[in-house]
Symmetry: C2
Subunit: 313 residues, 2 copies
């Protein structure tokens, strides 16, 4: 059995503490991950895995086709036609979002062709709750009657009943499709990532398409735009996009072998408990509760690939 | 009467929307601020106002002596002896904190003298609720029975009863005093600012001393440290501190005339309502609720000073 060797990123929540503490006791997050077994982890579908490459590093996104199938189809199409290559991050707003797309999107003459993706999509703000799995978090939520996880994504639901809906929650790390005033005006060509305190009031107002698995530190440290809403004021300030690719469109050797902890496992249940009641010595007050967006859903490199990489080195 | 001309910073929450929307209707945040009157605003005490100057810009902090009197006394002392000048930001952890202090703090030979502040302080994690004013937010909270504001600071309380306590909440923008494992091991010389999703599980585990009024974008865009817990791995990566000063120690002409919206006013009540139910045309779903750390407490330049500045130009 391979032990997990490296936890790459905690797309939500924080792994470390405020001072120079040392984890102690058996039930810390690190210990729980160390005791996890291979079947606790899943490998995201390469057709749902997007690499956003900037000069500063790579951002890896897992798309959520169960929640936004039409937007995900458009995004796959745009990645395949290399739509975003050479376009730019156009907006970085402190405590809010990083956003990228075509700076000339508003100009019919100068904007880049979207190919088959050139259509406004119906809003995909929520889906019937019965269509997606759900692992509840018992601690309540300010914004929704129920919250929890569906296949690794933080989600909210509006409660029991025939009309029960589920939607991806605007937690830190969420990826969404920018739109204009009309709800059906997005097409997936302009994407944003939440980089600050989770703006949950956006839930059910805009289509979320996935979440960042790795590379939040690349986005979070970008210079803030000084224009309205954090848009860069000049072309020279924009952050160029080297490329955006689907993992499925790359040879195996160029894919990053990430795995995500399954949120329907006993291991994840233990993890949530360890974050509700922190056992690390540093903590003197255990909250006994946790908010949805403060729970990390861990991501790691697949252990055997780590081993192979080790042998190569 | 002076109309408020500029809102400088919303230390929590976000002012703008996800797409290129235009505010419309009478009850947006911008409209409410435009209709505010001078008595809705207060000027923080210069003895409670700290300027952290970095090459990248100025960060202005309001200290909260009602919640952490001994830590604030130490911080004032340290600012007066120019303790932090030439020291550094030593840690920037994505979705967590920026932290500064003496990189040599652990070395008895090399560390900088703290003067009278060289003493561990009793933890100031909470105060009797009866000692501080309180404006409640009615929407509940995952972590505490009651939340709201006290003189502009987001706070939580543990409910009614003789033993009722109140504490500053770890919202985005909160400023705290780093400590070791012992609860009484902080002295205010090592400070941190929350730059990500609000880590409310730290509440009542560490002493908060205030909040950032202006300049979060300076801290949020700093390069992340690649060491454990976001510490910089080499001296060259650290961000030097030009100076830390109390506004009270500067001549009037060098103070920034900031004002903070009073949280015990009808204007603030209207603001909270406008954020619970967003009236801007872009929104199709109104949350009807809001989480404490998503409510902005606006900060502006004092209008007459803006006018004078305008006349000078």
């Amino acid at each position: 059995m391979h032990k997990p060797l490296v936890v790459l990123a905690l797309a939500a929540g924080s792994m470390a503490l405020a001072a120079d503490d040392t984890p102690a006791g058996p039930a810390t997050l690190a210990d729980i991950l160390a005791a996890s077994i291979d079947t606790d982890w899943r490998t995201p579908d390469p057709a749902d895995t997007l690499y956003l490459d900037l000069d500063g590093g790579r951002v890896i996104i897992e798309l959520a086709p169960d929640f936004a199938p039409r937007h995900v189809a458009n995004i796959r199409h745009l990645a395949r036609r290399r739509y975003w290559d050479g376009l730019a991050i156009v907006r970085v707003q402190e405590n809010y979002v990083v956003q990228w797309g075509d700076p000339e999107a508003e100009s019919p003459e100068r904007r880049r062709s979207l190919g088959e993706a050139d259509r406004h999509l119906p809003a995909e703000f929520a889906v019937p709750a019965s269509r997606v799995p759900f692992t509840p978090l018992p601690d309540g939520d300010v914004y929704a009657p129920e919250v929890g996880w569906s296949q690794g994504f933080p989600v909210a639901r509006d409660g029991a009943g025939a009309e029960n809906l589920a939607w991806l929650a605007h937690c830190y790390g969420a990826v969404g499709a920018g739109r204009d005033d009309a709800p059906d005006s997005s097409n997936g060509s302009e994407l944003y990532v939440v980089i600050g305190h989770s703006p949950r009031h956006l839930d059910r107002n805009i289509t979320l398409v996935g979440r960042v698995l790795q590379g939040m530190e690349v986005l979070g440290a970008l210079p803030r735009g000084r224009g309205a809403m954090g848009f860069y004021e000049s072309a020279g300030e924009r952050i160029p996009i080297r490329s955006v690719r689907l993992a499925a469109d790359l040879p195996d050797s160029e894919r990053v072998p990430l795995q995500v902890l399954r949120t329907d496992t006993e291991t994840f249940k233990r993890l949530v408990e360890a974050r509700r009641n922190r056992r690390e010595e540093w903590f003197v007050h255990r909250a006994g509760r946790i908010e949805l967006c403060n729970v990390p859903v861990p991501v790691r490199l697949k252990p055997q690939d780590r081993d192979v990489a080790g042998e190569d080195g």
